[in-house]
Amino acid sequence: MSEHNISVTVNGTHHELTVEPRTLLVSALREELGYTGANVGCETGRCGACTVRVDGETIKSCTRFAVQSDGAEIETVEGLADDGELSTLQEQFQENHGLQCGYCTPGMLMSADTFLRENEDPSREEIRDAIEGNLCRCTGYHNIVDAIEATADQLGEQR
């Protein structure tokens, strides 16, 4: 089968790689480029563990072929911390025990980070709607919602 040369930018770093058409975006990120933050969970587009931002919007990277993302600007969970210093959202997940096993956390963080960019003072219901596409099999949703709410509060105080 054919192979294709593509280029992507991940967290600001330019990469060129060669992929088979059937290589999923999440597989290219993890196995070709070493961005193992995006996890492979259900592989059916339900669980959201593989959530990344492509050109500013969250998508599930198991439901996109890598070759389709040629030229895209991709952001993964590795890009949230600034030179090793956790973002406010990441700190609040830690503070509020917003993670247990941690498997859903990269996707949760990407969905929550994207949501908070456009929603400065969300209700808990709005937060729950925002993470509807991210399943936590530890069922630790209360603390995740707490963490996102606390982040919104903290960012609001800083504004």
């Binding site: 058409p21 059937r22 597989s27 439901t63 509807e132």
Partner: protein
């Protein structure tokens, strides 16, 4: 999880996409990939080639035209439709369906043209398109044509969009005197519609002049509910009318039209359809409850 191997071609124009489809037997279009890719993983579909139209420019515009219709570009995502003021104002049922579909990342990924051409009977937009009497604008090797919603859905994952055709836009007629909406009962496992009901009604506030009601999810193929429509048309806007109309939800459908699966039997889905039809009518009419 990998799909089977396939050849990949990227189209730089609608014309090139049509050519590529013609050149490669069995090739399928891909844009958001949210309909096709999951079915390629399970082996339900295994096209030898994909033609990628996801990066085509200008196919995602949502516009209102003077001629009494709105046009939604085939590459508009469900998120863009859900957020569109034009769609909300003139085709509320489609805005409802788009905002109820999947979850935020799925709405960012999936596109309306692919959704409707794919013909997944569990998906939300088909009921809205049927109730709104929308149509698809398609282009193929024989030129352009229009496919009305009533002719579109031929069976599960079977639509009237031909193998060498590409959907370019969805057109919805508008009517300032009409109201519309879509109500979904979500399958808790898949997130698809266990039952979804789209309604479109034109009233003079006292009488229902015209009615269009459609179902998705509950039936093997999205369909209009003519029994409900007949009961509504010409009747007073009242709770009694809604109750009587909802009771007709299953009457014009064949006995084997309903889906039966691990979540709900066919009999239960038919029961739910009556309830959800009633609720969908209350959602858009200014009476009771």
């Amino acid at each position: 999880m990998y799909t089977n191997d396939f050849d990949y071609y990227r189209a730089d124009s609608v014309g090139e996409a049509v050519e590529l489809l013609g050149d490669h037997d069995g090739a399928e279009l891909v844009a958001g990939a949210h309909g096709l890719l999951p079915r390629m993983k399970t082996g339900d579909e295994s096209p030898p080639a994909l033609v990628d139209i996801g990066q085509l420019n200008g196919l995602d515009a949502i516009e209102s035209s003077d001629g009494g219709s709105i046009s939604v570009g085939a590459l508009a995502t469900h998120a863009e439709i859900a957020d569109s003021e034009i769609v909300r104002e003139h085709a509320a049922a489609l805005a409802d369906a788009a905002s109820e579909l999947g979850d935020p990342p799925v709405r960012n990924g999936g596109t309306i043209g692919g959704n409707l051409a794919h013909g997944d009977p569990r998906s939300d937009p088909p009921a809205a398109l049927l109730a709104l009497e929308g149509s698809l604008e398609v282009r193929g090797s024989d030129g352009e044509r229009t496919i009305d919603a009533a002719e579109l859905f031929e069976g599960p994952f079977e639509t009237a969009v031909a193998d060498d055709e590409i959907v370019t836009a969805v057109r919805i007629p508008t009517d300032d005197d009409a109201v519309s909406g879509y109500r979904k009962r979500r399958d808790p496992l898949s997130g698809y519609a266990m039952v979804g009901v789209g309604v479109w009604l034109r009233t003079d506030d006292e009488t229902i002049e015209a009615a269009r009601v459609a179902v998705t999810g509950a039936t093997t193929t999205p369909a209009r509910l003519s029994g409900v429509e007949d009961e509504l048309e010409g009747s007073a806007v009242s709770e009694e009318t809604i109750t009587a109309a909802a009771a007709e939800a299953g009457t014009a459908l064949d006995a084997d039209a309903f889906v039966s699966d691990v979540q709900a039997s066919a009999e239960y889905r038919e029961h739910l359809l009556t309830i959800d039809t009633e609720r969908a009518l209350y959602d858009v009419l200014d009476v009771g409850q």
